[in-house]
Amino acid sequence: MGYVAVKGGTEAIENAAMFLNYERIKGNSEPLRVEQIKEQLYLLVDRVMGEGSLYAPELAALVIKQSAGDTFEAAFMLRAYRTTLPRVGYSIPQSTKEMRVIRRISAAFKDIPGGQILGTTPDYTLRLLDFELLNDTSEKRESFIRGLFNGIDAAPPIPDSFPKVIEVLRNEGLLIESVSSQNGLPACLPERVRSQSGNAQAGIFDITRQSLTFPAPRSAAMQTMARGETGGMLLLAYSNIRGYGDIHPFLGEMRVGYIPVKIKHPLTGEPYTVGEVKVTEAEIIARFTIKDGSPKFTLGYGLCFGHNETKAITMAILDRAMQSAEPKPVTEVPSITAFEGRLNRGMPSEDQEFVLYHLDGIESMGFCNHWKLPHYVTFQSDLDRLKKAQQESGVKNET
């Protein structure tokens, strides 16, 4: 009877959970070791740490295994685990000049101070299937590594720090500081708004402790994007550079490497290095704006956990897009002619609310999937409305 279907939940969900586990382990292959995921699927680990907002390679590898490779689920589990950890303090702000670089490039200048370092990248590889990998063995790997290092002279070590490409432009007065130094709000906002918002305490918003308010301080926007879902951010940034926006970016510099995490010693107050995190940083230069009578370039900034270049670049584009000179809300009604309509229509990627509210993978994935939950009551209520409206409009109700 119907009643059973409504009530029979407990056993069914327990069985489903067990069946889910079974599905992952039923094959004949060797159990996947967490260490293998960490070392051999490191880009996936980096992505999950970034979106999960917790720098923990071991745990990220674990959740990737547990979720059978679903990045949404994996980041979600990591984020939920994060909830259980107390906030012990804030690290000391760190300049990325001190980054231990493993890759840094500029697309704006051919020759940059310190030189371009290509590092590891698939950018210039041919995307042909490597059928050799079908029969991958430890012996093959060892012989490849031996061949790689055999007879190579020791290269000079990579310097500890590199000057920033952007600094060249900044020193020559070609760049506007698009952000108010006071509270990190976009400079395009009226002074009245900027003086009202922002955190008086430290000037830095903490999105894990406060919910977003708009206009959001730049620190809040940065944090929200740093843990945004890579695909969602790519979509919004792509919409801007393809046509629904006006950014036309150049990649001033992108670097990947390790930066130290420093905290104040609780007793002495001295800076103390507690570890390091791998990050990707992107700085984009965009078309100039007239500020104080003289035209200047503008800057967009992106930084995320791990090696995730697509995310860092899209973050920088969105950062710049949200600071557009006169951003119009998406909700603004377009005017009548197509030409005026295009000029007047707000671009989604330039609207802070639109961007920041919709790019979190854990929130968007959760809400989309919640439509799988029963909605018997609300649907019943809707049916009642529909029948009433049909009655009123004179349509004969068949029941």
């Binding site: 979600f76 919910s211 009551v377 209520s381």
Partner: protein, 318 residues
Amino acid sequence: MKLKEWIANKEHKDNIRHLSACNAQAEKSEVRHKFSGYNFAFIDEGSKREIRRKLLKAIAIPGYQVPFGSRELPIASGWGTGGLQITFSIIGTEDILKVIDQGCDGSVNAVNIKKLISKVAEVRTTIDTHEATIIQTRHRIPEERMREDQILVLQVPLPEALRRIEPSEVETRRMHAEADYSLMWLYLYEDIVKFKEISIASRYPVMVGGRYIMDPSPVPRWDVPKLHMADTLYLFGAGREKRIYAIPPYTKVEPLEFEDFKFRIEDFKGESCMRCGSKDTFLDEIIDDATGRRTYLCSDTGYCDKVLEGKEGKYYGD
């Protein structure tokens, strides 16, 4: 009874005291739990305390959405994380918990949430509305009238009642601040012009304390009158949207209506529950596979059981 009197009344201070007691308990000691590696009631004590502060603010400004730093939980956003964070923040070892989804204790999501809560905070659970001290619910308010010493925690997917007319949060916050609700009234009017009916079914907007338009969560129209001058504290949690709001006991809660176009609840046209025979409950419509015949069952299954056993509680209508 006025809200002020309710707070002043010693007997009814229990709920407020409960919130304060949780704070004190958290300060005194780290309440560790058997379930390895996790704090009692999952969330760390500092965060729970922050949520309780936001709850007190919400109670002080009935119907106003208080922003809070929502945390991620091991169930997905949109699946009751707002309600769950409230429950985790107010639950103590002596509480008796009931969880319902669509009115039903046995529904998959209710079972799942109850399982999580009992795993990280070993409390007694019940399916009896009268026995529970805290009831967490999705989409329904129990048929039995709840008491002053009980708390109903509602899971909220979309806390902004004005969202259907205005997508921007900046704008809706301004509208609330200025009590600028003309667009909402216009929406209802246009609905009547179009359909000769207000088409909003569940999530029917209400005016709280004559000040804020509030989303009562997706409860059916049937449950809206239960919010008015209730004996119980209603707490609303929207995790994904990071908002908490409340209706304290004995608060005026009025569905939006026109003098000449009154709010109406769902009409079951005299149908009754085929299991317990009730004619005064919200009914689920069941279509029989074989015959295609429509039958009806109580949506509130705990209540249905009670009526069947001949020990029903107090009706709202009484």
